[in-house]
């Protein structure tokens, strides 16, 4: 399997962490992630986020929730433009704060990448494990190209294969 980070398809890792991939793709990705220094921390990070969110239990909704909600909607309709403007900055309940905090954390991670792109990507790419099969395929191609280039230069028209 190709490296999702190198191929610029990190959303595959998000889908993997969310458990949305088919079993076969999951197995292939797990094999890749186990040997890929670039993918491993990204996948582990996403899995950790999902686990933390799954572990959080939403409090039960109170019996008079609907009544209070409609009252709030009515109140909102009576707010001045200034009150509507500052409203999002008031202290929010945990239900809204948690996903926003998690999202902000992800954006912060992206921001850090933005400031240090050269540190993360090349180092990770350099450490990427190359499959022996890839090396063998490249050797086969190099061999074909080498034989063509050596047609005139070699004494007998053939050089030793790579």
């Amino acid at each position: 399997m190709n490296c999702p980070i190198e191929d610029r398809h990190p959303e595959i890792l998000v889908a993997y962490a969310a458990g949305e991939l088919a079993a076969e793709t999951t197995r292939a990705l797990e094999t890749h992630v186990a040997g890929c220094a670039a993918c491993r921390p990204v996948a582990a990070g996403h899995i950790a986020v999902w686990k933390a969110l799954d572990a959080w239990d939403a409090p039960p909704v109170s019996p008079d929730f609907d009544r209070r909600l409609y009252r709030r909607i009515d109140e909102d309709a009576r707010l001045s433009w200034w009150e509507r403007l500052v409203r999002p900055f008031r202290l929010m309940p945990l239900r809204q704060a948690l996903p926003l905090t998690a999202s902000a954390g992800l954006l912060l991670m992206a921001g850090l990448l933005l400031h240090n792109p050269g540190v993360v990507a090349p180092a990770a790419a350099e450490r990427e494990a190359v499959r022996a099969q890839q090396v063998e395929n490249t050797l086969d191609d190099l061999d074909l190209l080498r034989q063509f280039g050596a047609a005139d230069s070699a004494e007998n028209g053939h050089t030793g294969a790579l």
């Binding site: 999202s103 992206a110 890839q134 490249t138 050797l139 063509f148 790579l162």
Partner: protein, 172 residues
């Protein structure tokens, strides 16, 4: 229930994740735009990346293959790593052009080079010499030459196909 939702499907959170990924992706692509010289550097092939892996990592990978196949790969890698620098450089230039081709074109080149390998020695030399000759010509000269009687008489149809495709896809 009015507020029963799953984190996995919550559209706001998904949007934030995708936004973060988009920012990260643009961060990765940014240095390439800022450094055109660096972008012009050919990408490392699998062997160069393999050479940068630790000996333990390489052996771990080879251990997944049958011993005879692993031995052959080791031997071929040794030959590649001990090529004369100028010979290796020329080969890498050709490989770079080859690896930038779309997969279907790469398959065409592989097929032609395998056909080339099957030719007798003197025909290989004639075909190779013809490709080298075409490289020295201008486009107009090349067209006239390839449509000429001499070219058609001197090379069989499969040989003409090898010459045309190898010249077209591996111009250096």
């Amino acid at each position: 229930m009015l507020f029963d939702f799953s984190w996995r499907t919550h559209p706001g959170f998904r949007l934030a994740i995708l936004l973060a990924l988009a920012v990260a992706a643009s961060a990765e692509s940014q240095p390439e735009q800022e450094k055109p010289a660096a972008q012009a550097q050919p990408a490392d092939n699998a062997i160069e990346r393999w050479n940068r892996m630790s000996p333990e990592e390489r052996e771990r990978e080879l251990a997944k293959l049958p011993p005879e196949r692993a031995r052959l790969i080791r031997q071929r890698l040794w030959q590649y790593n001990h090529m004369k620098p100028e010979e290796r450089q020329a080969l890498l230039q050709r490989y770079q052009a080859f690896s930038e081709l779309p997969p279907d074109k790469q398959e065409i080149v592989r097929a032609r080079l395998r056909e080339f390998e099957q030719l007798p020695k003197e025909r290989r030399q004639a075909v190779h010499g013809e490709v080298e000759l075409l490289r020295l010509m201008t486009e107009g000269q090349r067209k006239a030459h390839m449509n000429g009687e001499e070219f058609r008489n001197r090379f069989s149809v499969p040989e003409q196909r090898i010459i045309k495709d190898v010249f077209q896809y591996i111009p250096n």
